[in-house]
Symmetry: C2
Subunit: 121 residues, 2 copies
């Protein structure tokens, strides 16, 4: 995150919720969002196959069910594509290493500052 | 079910709930119950491995989760080892072909009549 700007980071969530998104920014945001989501879903697919192949007893089956429910709830919560919360979503994905700063280039400095600030929390 | 007796089938659920179970009957019941349960759990394990191996897209993952939740709830409901409801449990398992009448030989004619009657409903 070292190349994301420090300046112009807004101080309140109210600012973030009032950001205007240009069509170009929306395209950048959508692409980064979908890329992270598809990657995370692919991880779930691979982990599911791995866990299923290792099942030896009934307890392992219900552990797999618990894993799937947990991951579905996490993904449902995390991938919220409303522009009013998108900087928060991106901050979490940056923190988790799921979105690189390069993928967000083209967003306004104001938005990038917000993402950077939240990603460090 | 043709060799199970027709006679002495009680007319009310109250009768069933008051059945006395000898130690020998309890051993027969436990063995038949556990055998059916283990078989059904093994089916879930094999079906889980089969479904997981076929996963190609995220939707397949959530279908597997739904399958596991449904099967867990069905099994939790069905395998109720209380003597007061056991004839009903056995009737359902006989109806599904999960317990054979041979496995229940040694139970009193009264209980077998009840199982047979309920299995036909």
């Amino acid at each position: 995150m070292s190349s994301l700007p420090h300046s112009k980071a807004p101080d309140t969530y109210t600012d973030m919720r009032n950001f205007k998104w240009s069509q170009a920014e929306k395209a950048i945001a959508r692409k980064a969002f979908e890329h992270a989501l598809q990657q995370e879903l692919e991880e779930v697919i691979q982990e599911t196959k791995r866990l299923a192949a290792k099942i030896e007893q009934p307890l392992d089956v219900w552990k797999l069910e618990g894993f799937l429910t947990k991951r579905r709830n996490e993904i449902d919560r995390k991938y919220d594509y409303r522009y009013s919360v998108l900087p928060e979503v991106f901050a979490e994905l940056v923190r988790e290493g799921r979105i690189s700063e390069e993928e967000l280039h083209g967003l306004t400095q104001e938005k990038l500052g917000y993402v950077r600030k939240l990603a460090k929390l």
